[in-house]
C-alpha cells in the first residue's frame, strides 16, 4: 500500500488541497475565500499555505487589485498529483479494511 503524504495529511492542509483541487487546473482561490471555505483563521491558514508552498504543492500570487492587496493560492501540478495519490491511499485503506473484515 502507498504511503500517506505527511504534508497533506494534516486536516487543514487536506481541506486547503481539497478546495484547490476542486478547481480547474491553473485556477486559484483568493485568501479570504479559501479561509471561508476551509473554516480556518488568518494566521493558521497563512502558516499551512506556507508549508504547502515549501513542499511545492501550491503557488502563491500576491497582487494589488486597486489599492487592496490580494493573495491567490493555486495548486501546482505536483500538488495535484500528491493530492490524487493521497486520496487513492485513503481509498485503499478503506478497501483493505473492508476486505479484511469479510
Amino acid at each position: 500500500m502507498a504511503e500517506l503524504d505527511d504534508v497533506i495529511h494534516q486536516p487543514l492542509r487536506l481541506r486547503i488541497m481539497a478546495a484547490l483541487n476542486a478547481l480547474p487546473s491553473g485556477s486559484g482561490l483568493e485568501f479570504a475565500r479559501l479561509k471561508k471555505l476551509t473554516g480556518a483563521t488568518d494566521g493558521n491558514l497563512g502558516a499551512h499555505i506556507e508549508t504547502l508552498s515549501r513542499a511545492g504543492y501550491v503557488g502563491v500570487d500576491k497582487a494589488f487589485v486597486g489599492k487592496k492587496p490580494q493573495t491567490t493560492v493555486t495548486a501546482t501540478a505536483e500538488g495535484r498529483g500528491a493530492f490524487a495519490r493521497h486520496v487513492a491511499t485513503l481509498q485503499e485503506i478503506i478497501a483493505a479494511s473492508a476486505a479484511g473484515g469479510k
Binding site: 500517506l4 487536506l14 481541506r15 481539497a18 478546495a19 483541487n21 476542486a22 478547481l23 471561508k36 486520496v87
Partner: protein
C-alpha cells in the same frame, strides 16, 4: 504514518465536503451577479410601467430581452474567468421550457390582465428559484419564498398603480438585496 479505516473515511468525507462548498460557492458567485442584474432590470421595468402603463408590453419585452442577454453574457464571462461551467446546457434547456410553459399559461390559457401578469411572472420565476434551491443551496429557497410572499401581499392588498411601485421595491429590490446577501455568504 498509519491510519485506520474510520479516520480514512473521515478524511474522504472532509474532502467531499470542501469540494461541495467550492462548487456551491462558484454557483452562488454567478447566481448573485445574475440576480442583482435582474433586480435592477425588474426595478426599472416596474418603475417605467408605473410611469407609462400603456407601454407595459414593450417595457417587459425589453426587460426580458435584456435580462436573458445579460444572463448569457455573465455566464460566458464567468466561464472564461474561472474555466468552470457553473450552469450547463440542461439548465438552459430547463429554463427555456419553464419560460415557454409560463407563456402558454399566462397568454394562451389564462388571458391574464396586467395585474395578474405582474403577479404571475414573479411568483412563477421564484418557483424556479425555490426548485433550484433544493439542489444548489438554501439561499435560493429563502429568496424565492420571501419574494413570493411579498408579491402576493401586493396582489391582494396594494391597489391601483401603486402595485407597480410595490413590485419595483419588493421584486426588483428583493432580487438586489438577495443577490448582495448571497455574495456575503
Amino acid at each position: 504514518m498509519k491510519l485506520d479505516s474510520a479516520e480514512a473515511r473521515k478524511a474522504l468525507a472532509d474532502i467531499d465536503d470542501v469540494a461541495r462548498r467550492v462548487r456551491q460557492s462558484r454557483i452562488y458567485d454567478l447566481a448573485s451577479r445574475v440576480m442583482i442584474m435582474w433586480g435592477v432590470l425588474v426595478f426599472a421595468g416596474n418603475l417605467a410601467n408605473w410611469l407609462s402603463p400603456r407601454d407595459g408590453g414593450a417595457i417587459w419585452i425589453a426587460v426580458n430581452t435584456l435580462g436573458v442577454g445579460g444572463t448569457v453574457t455573465l455566464s460566458i464571462l464567468d466561464m472564461r474567468r474561472t474555466g468552470m461551467h457553473s450552469f450547463d446546457l440542461r439548465v438552459a434547456a430547463a429554463f427555456v421550457l419553464y419560460f415557454a410553459f409560463g407563456l402558454f399559461c399566462s397568454v394562451v390559457l389564462g388571458h391574464f390582465g396586467p395585474r395578474q401578469m405582474g403577479t404571475f411572472w414573479p411568483v412563477y420565476a421564484m418557483l424556479f428559484y425555490v426548485l433550484a434551491g433544493l439542489w444548489f443551496g438554501r439561499a435560493f429557497v429563502a429568496i424565492g419564498l420571501g419574494i413570493t410572499v411579498l408579491t402576493l401581499i401586493g396582489y391582494f392588498f396594494v391597489t391601483g398603480y401603486a402595485f407597480m411601485l410595490w413590485m419595483a421595491v419588493t421584486n426588483g429590490g428583493g432580487l438586489i438585496v438577495g443577490g448582495l446577501c448571497m455574495r456575503r455568504d
